[in-house]
């Protein structure tokens, strides 16, 4: 009996009129927890009742405290007939169970009814007295903190990262139970809301238990999803990263940054060995990882794709690694539910022993070395390999035994195994930036997972001294003792890690290839790193993570989207599943090609935050890939795009081609200007110069062992000699490539057209889907989070793929245009974390939902920052020169005249620059930074607390001082008077506004003034205009926090190395 829950109902206001005769309401309140219910007195004839009730006390198990929500129902007393319900409030009391989160819930909550929406507000006070329970076998996990944020929360430091936690619970969907036929829509909706609330609570509790077992105290990057499987049930699943977090005391916060990593604890992770990754059948290497030697699988055109594109990189060190061909199999065929899966991939059996040793550190012992984090503490991320992803098509059937949801578990397990083996194929022992998703249409379900293969610093996983991981053998192989800022140095003496390496993580280390140069898992162009020139890097890098703090970026980034629509025949069951899985690889390929072309067109060489969504409908599949393109200074400059005609004889045709070529070249030049991409000459070739060079080598196919199969492919890789400069630097391996588009069919023309028709972003706007935009630092406090939803009806049933593509592309482009227009008052501004979700709710309907935050920045100071950036990179050059000297390279041709030597330790600069930048952001004094105490809403007419919401993990110009707990809410809204509510748009508009209002109210009641890492994970909209009905389900989540404006007393050193500030990972402590 370890808890006492107390609730007090204070007052109500703005209640609806329930008695037409008197225009008043006789309201009373029922307070329910578990099976216990209390009632207040009736407060007669008032729309603003003052109940001022006693404290209702519930004595309950902490298990129940975690699972159950507190249910508050407001009713209208009716003497003669049944009491009418006005509406309900569900309060999740989980935040009260952790001593570090909120201590009391107090405030005005909107009273919500699933049919009528918000109907007035109620003021409630809730407290919990927890008794300590030392029972080892307890089923509760009170006190484990949950964070939606996918980085280390701001006022904590990470002592240990335990790894992946997942759980899944299943139930019957009340909407599909027999009883639903006889109960009212309201009762049915409420049953559903209650059930999902219960299931979320249970899920969270179970995950908490796993975390406690692992020895952790928190879950970071907690991602919970619902699968509404219809007849076959309701699945609530969650993944996250278990960590041990230490709270930073406010005083120490700023300066502890660099030491956070030195703490290590015994690894308590379960040691299940998963080395033998049974990647039996089809895996689906997404972009970057197509292996050169297809072991099986249809000779798809896809294969060439990787040759031109992708990926990863790694330090060249483990030369001795003997790898056979990679073990990723190429078959891009997705797994099919029935086991009739497409091709059989083969496990690369002889997975290099060395590699195994190398990875057999802490990570290897985990079942799933998978992390949901997208931002990392400094030094955590060693190398990044590239994107790994898997899709699997399943047929849903009824879940027979909800208590043992084995099938669903097994499905995800398979997927994670595949992800893991893909990562291995890339020479990586871990996957970061991992996420899972589903798309369901009738009985077909596509399960998707993706992440970024990476090498991590094992120090964070287990005790440092035991580490025998990569750094060691790296060390032995390449002892360059003097190198600063290279990961090689760290391994030398493990003790040096603690202070030294952390202080200055190499800014280019993460782009170095983790796989073996001579046995690459797929063909890629390697060059020496343009930053340190010691290690090999790939020509292009795709990742799902945020831009690492230390990454050096040239210019600004931008949102890059690939969109695709594919029709498919209507079918049932297995046939349907098969046809879908046959389509998937083509879609992935096309999306990838689009991404690559668009990336080149912007003269960029890396994608971050890549998210590919494939949605299934009855007669079509939608694919949408979004990512933020940047120019990583450490990677080679991208070549241009070359158009080649197939039939050279025709003069007019040639002309056509040269016109197109010109347009493309112009666009590239324009984009370079737009995104300010002017890489220092020392490191890069002028791509234009390049184009001239390589025109003759177009047909030369390099790096692809399978030229013959490329018949249908239009992508080739051409090479040319690198410039003199490069050879002087002994970078002769650096091959330049231009992308060649061969126009031999209408498809290609379409492609090029679509490439060029992406509307340019209006002046003053930037956009990205990562946390922040590289190149912008001086955010003001101007902030606008928004959600926009559009549904298009395709009137013409017989559309071709091209026609559909066009429509879909226009839909997305127009949506973006509308957003820019709507937010024009915030210019200059950047739309951050643009998150698109597509769905096919019905035949011939396409739904696109976008959630993002617009943040304005200060143009004046931006220029100063740009200058500082120059200075910063000069600073960086210093370091670089040092290492170059060691290597006997020339150091002089540095074109940064402002470079100045500095004795300031880098870490200090990192911190200071961040502070100062945020400082400058706060000159707009907002009246709302009132003291925390006063943000509590009082029963009287105190002003409503302003609650900011953002999908980012931070608010510019502020410091998060406390995390109050996770907000995870699920709402259903239904109407039977659609026209009267303003049609579908009016209905959805008010529902979304209501959801925002309820989220804000809960945050305010916890004492918070912002919700960070907000996301709308589900927005399912169904309508039946003929019956004048519509229904919508929305699931939102985020972290409630208290923030304060940066105060003036903090250090205001000059803006150095501003690039550091762009990343959120840099300041786990700020």
């Amino acid at each position: 009996m370890p808890g006492k829950l107390k609730a007090k109902i204070v007052a109500g206001r703005h209640l609806p009129v329930m008695d037409r005769a008197s225009d008043l309401t006789d309201a009373f309140v029922e307070v329910k927890f578990g099976n216990t219910t209390f009632k207040t007195d009736v407060f007669p004839k008032s729309l603003n009742p003052q109940w001022n009730s006693e404290w209702f006390k519930f004595e309950v198990d902490d298990e129940d405290l975690q699972d159950e929500p507190l249910q508050i129902t407001v009713l209208d007393h009716d003497t003669y007939s049944a009491n009418d319900a006005i509406g309900k409030v569900y309060i999740d009391i989980d935040p009260l169970l952790s001593c570090e989160a909120a201590t009391v819930i107090s405030g005005w909550f909107p009273i919500y009814d699933t049919i009528h929406g918000i109907r007035g507000e109620i003021n409630v006070l809730v407290k919990v007295d927890l008794f300590n329970d030392l029972n080892r076998f307890r089923q509760s996990s009170c006190g484990v903190k949950f964070f939606c944020t996918t980085s280390i929360p701001r006022c904590y430091r990470v002592a240990l990262v335990h790894g992946f936690v997942e759980e899944l619970v299943v139930n019957e969907d009340p909407e599909y139970q027999w009883i639903d036929r006889i109960r009212t829509p309201r009762a049915s909706n409420e049953a559903r809301q209650r059930l999902i609330s219960l299931m979320s609570g249970e899920l969270q509790r179970k995950i908490g238990l796993k975390v406690l077992e692992m020895g952790g105290n928190a879950v970071v990057g907690y991602l919970q999803c619902f699968d509404l499987e219809g007849e076959s049930g309701l699945v609530v699943r969650a993944i996250g990263t278990a960590c041990t977090l230490d709270k930073l005391s406010p005083g120490t916060a700023p300066n502890t940054t660099t030491h956070t990593n030195t703490h290590t604890l015994p690894n308590t992770a379960p040691a299940s060995n998963a080395c033998n990754s049974p990647s039996k059948d089809s895996k689906e290497p997404v972009f970057s990882e197509d292996p050169p030697h297809p072991l099986s699988g249809p000779p798809t055109p896809l294969r060439t794709l990787p040759s031109s594109s992708p990926p990863p990189f790694s330090p060249s060190k483990p030369c001795s690694r003997q790898s056979s061909s990679s073990d990723t199999d190429l078959s891009l065929t997705p797994r099919i539910g029935m086991g009739s899966g497409g091709s059989v991939g083969k496990e690369a059996g002889p997975l290099k022993t060395l590699l195994r040793q190398h990875t057999q550190s802490a990570l290897e012992q985990r079942e799933f070395p998978i992390f949901t984090l997208t931002c990392f503490p400094p030094g955590f991320l060693v190398h990044v390999g590239g994107v790994v992803s898997t899709r699997s098509v399943k047929l849903l059937d009824r879940i027979h035994n909800p208590d043992e949801p084995e099938t669903r578990d097994a499905w995800w397990e398979e997927i994670r195994q595949e992800i893991k083996s893909h990562a291995k194929a890339l020479g990586c022992h871990a996957v970061v930036g991992y996420s899972e998703s589903t798309s369901i249409c009738e009985e077909v379900c596509i399960l998707s997972a993706s992440g970024t293969a990476a090498m991590l610093n094992p120090r964070f996983m287990r005790e440092g001294c035991l580490d025998t991981g990569g750094s060691d053998h790296r060390l032995s192989r390449q002892p360059h003792p003097g190198m600063v800022g290279s990961e090689r140095g760290e391994g030398e003496v493990s003790s040096t890690w603690l202070g030294f390496e952390d202080a200055s993580p190499p800014s280019c280390g993460f782009v170095h290839i983790p796989y073996d140069e001579f046995n690459m898992p797929f063909p890629a162009q390697l060059t020496y790193c343009y930053h340190c020139r010691r290690q090999k890097v790939p020509d292009v890098l795709f990742t799902t993570i945020d831009l690492p703090a230390e990454a050096e970026v040239t210019g600004k980034g931008c949102l890059i989207q690939a969109r695709l629509c594919r029709t498919k025949k209507k079918a049932q069951g297995e046939v349907n599943a098969t046809s879908i899985s046959n389509l998937l690889p083509f879609m992935e390929y096309e999306l990838h090609t689009q991404l690559m072309n668009k990336l080149k067109l912007r003269s960029m060489n890396a994608l971050f935050g890549l998210r590919i969504q494939i949605s299934v409908g009855e007669n079509m599949l939608l694919g949408l890939a979004s990512a933020t393109g940047v120019y990583l200074s450490a990677l080679p400059a991208p070549g241009g795009i070359q158009i080649a005609g197939k039939t050279p004889s025709d003069l007019s045709y040639d002309q056509h081609i040269s016109t197109m070529q010109k347009r493309i070249d112009d666009t590239i030049a324009k984009n370079k200007e737009l995104y300010n991409i002017h890489p220092p000459k020392l490191f890069t070739l002028d791509p234009e110069a390049f184009t001239g060079l390589n025109t003759e080598c177009i047909e030369e196919v390099v790096g692809s062992p399978i030229p013959d199969r490329q018949r249908s492919s239009r992508l080739f890789r051409s090479t040319s000699e690198s410039s003199d400069e490069l050879s002087e630097l002994d970078l002769s391996h650096g091959k330049k490539d231009a992308f060649v588009l061969e126009i031999d069919d209408t498809d290609a023309v379409e492609d090029i057209q679509s490439l060029l028709t992406d509307a340019p972003i209006p002046a003053g706007f930037y956009s990205c889907n990562t946390e922040v935009m590289p190149g912008i630092y001086n955010w003001t406090s101007g902030l606008q989070m928004f959600t926009s939803v559009r549904v298009y009806r395709l009137s013409n049933a017989n559309l071709t793929n091209q026609g559909l593509n066009k429509i879909f592309t226009d839909l997305c482009e127009n949506l973006l245009k509308s957003l820019y227009f709507k937010l024009r008052s915030m210019i200059p501004c950047c739309l951050c974390h643009l998150n698109f979700t597509v769905a096919v709710p019905e035949e011939e309907l396409i739904q696109v939902a976008v959630t993002a935050v617009a943040m304005s920045f200060d143009k004046e100071t931006q220029q100063a920052a740009d200058k500082a950036l120059t200075r910063g990179s000069g600073e960086n050059e210093e370091q670089l020169q040092f290492s170059m000297e060691l290597c006997g390279e020339s150091t002089i041709s540095n074109n940064q005249p402002t470079a100045k030597p500095s004795g300031v330790p880098e870490s200090a600069m990192v911190h200071s620059s961040r502070v100062s930048s945020s400082e400058r952001c706060s000159p707009l004094p907002e009246g709302r930074s009132r003291s925390l105490r006063s943000t509590r809403s009082l029963p009287c007419g105190a002003p409503v607390t302003v609650v900011k919401m953002t999908p980012l993990s931070f608010l510019p110009g502020t410091r998060i001082v406390k995390y109050l707990g996770i907000i995870n809410m699920f709402f259903i809204r239904e109407t039977t008077s659609l026209r009267e509510e303003g049609g579908v748009s009016g209905f959805l508009h008010s529902f979304i506004a209501e959801v925002f209002a309820m989220v804000r109210a809960h945050v305010a009641a916890l004492g918070g003034n912002a919700l960070v890492s907000y996301s709308m994970k589900e927005c399912v909209f169904m309508e039946n205009p003929n019956k004048n009905q519509a229904q919508c389900l929305i699931n939102v989540s985020g972290d409630a926090v208290i923030f304060i404006r940066e105060s003036d007393q903090e250090a205001i050193p000059p803006l150095l190395s501003s690039r550091q500030t762009s990343s959120t990972g840099a300041d786990g402590t700020t």
């Binding site: 918000i118 298009y792 127009n814 919401m949 303003g982």
Partner: protein, 360 residues
């Protein structure tokens, strides 16, 4: 292909005040889009017609959803549904309650009941204001009237407290409420030349000097202190009759006024001739005000009995000012005249009303 659904919801509700004005003016979405295009909205942010239509529809929907809250502006501040910065809340409310004086002029003094609503069509045709906008303005009048009608205390303050309006706007509403309550005649052809501002000014004078609240400190039990004229005062006005009934007094009065004005006004001759008529007009007006009917006719009487004769004789405003000033002051010098207080209270208001209503 058609857009089935298109919504945009910000955590902070985005409101474009220019579009708000178009909405308030009762434009349809397509008309509003046209206006915006003409105003050059397409030049911003590389917008196209589609973007503009989408934005306009969205804004109109937002305003429509907020309209319910604007009906009781105090709720706007405490509601949780829309997060609107305080500054914007003020603008929203103020603009929502702003009205066209042409429209207000038409409705002034009429009963704010449903019956009148049918006349809105006519007013809309006559004024060129859209019917939708007329409805909103009329409903606003009615709403404010209904709320403050029941309330005690100073009218303007009540309006400000319940509708959070600016001082100027609250005073205008007070005028409208006052006129609607007393049902002053404003519609006669002879009154057509008067604008809403003229009447609003007069209403302000009446409220300030002739109501209960004008003299007394407000007490909780006083009913309708600002809405109704003070009965006692109106009754006492009968006493002023002595100024015309007592011949000596009247002559004396005339002499005093003439002495003061001689050589100072061009219309002196005419004034001298007409003095008794003018004086009688003003005094009779005062003595009749005990009857509701005559109170209603206050303005028409002023025009017919005083303003028109003066205009006929081509008095200038300055001359009228001078005349009324001395006419008022001279009464103080009449040894037998005992009603100085009432005289001043009466003449002060009459004088400023006449001056406001006298258009040369």
């Amino acid at each position: 292909m058609s857009m089935e659904l298109d919504v945009f919801v910000g955590n902070t509700t985005i409101m474009d005040m220019e579009v708000y004005q178009l909405w308030l003016d009762g434009l349809t979405v397509s008309d509003a889009v046209k206006v915006r295009m003409d105003e050059g909205a397409l030049l911003e942010c590389e917008a196209n017609a589609e973007v503009l239509t989408s934005d306009t529809m969205d804004q109109f929907r937002t305003f429509q959803m907020c309209e319910r809250l604007l009906h009781s502006p105090t709720k706007l501040g405490s509601q949780l549904l829309y997060q609107i910065p305080a500054q914007n809340q003020r603008i929203l409310i103020e603009r929502y309650y702003e009205f066209d004086s042409v429209f207000a002029r038409e409705v002034l003094g009429k009963k704010l009941s449903k019956g009148t609503k049918k006349d809105l069509d006519d007013i809309s045709c006559k004024t060129g204001i859209t019917l939708k906008s007329c409805r909103r303005q009329f409903d606003n009048f009615k709403r404010v009237f209904k709320v403050v009608e029941e309330l005690k205390g100073p009218l303007v303050e009540n309006i400000q407290r319940h509708f959070l309006l600016s001082d100027t706007l609250a005073r205008d509403y007070a005028a409208i409420v006052f006129f609607a309550n007393s049902r002053f005649e404003t519609g006669k052809r002879k009154l057509q030349y008067l604008s809403f501002q003229d009447f609003a000014f007069c209403a302000g004078q009446l409220i300030s000097y002739w109501t209960v609240g004008a003299v007394d400190v407000w007490e909780p039990n006083d009913p309708d202190m600002d809405v109704d004229l003070e009965k006692e005062f109106l009754h006492e006005l009968k006493d002023l009759k002595v100024l015309v009934n007592d011949k000596d007094m009247m002559d004396q009065h005339k002499i005093l006024v003439c002495a003061a004005l001689r050589g100072k006004i061009k219309v002196y001759k005419l004034m001298e001739v007409n003095f008794k008529n003018l004086s009688r007009a003003l005094i009779n007006l005062a003595s009749k005000l005990t009857h509701t009917k005559d109170v209603r006719d206050l303005f028409i009487d002023l025009v017919e009995k005083f303003i028109e004769p003066c205009r006929y004789d081509r008095w200038t405003v300055a001359e009228i000012t001078l005349f009324l000033t001395h006419y008022t002051n001279a009464a103080h010098c009449l040894g037998t005249f005992r009603y100085q207080m009432i005289w001043d209270r009466y003449m002060g208001v009459i004088k400023s009303c006449i001056l406001q209503m006298y258009h040369e």
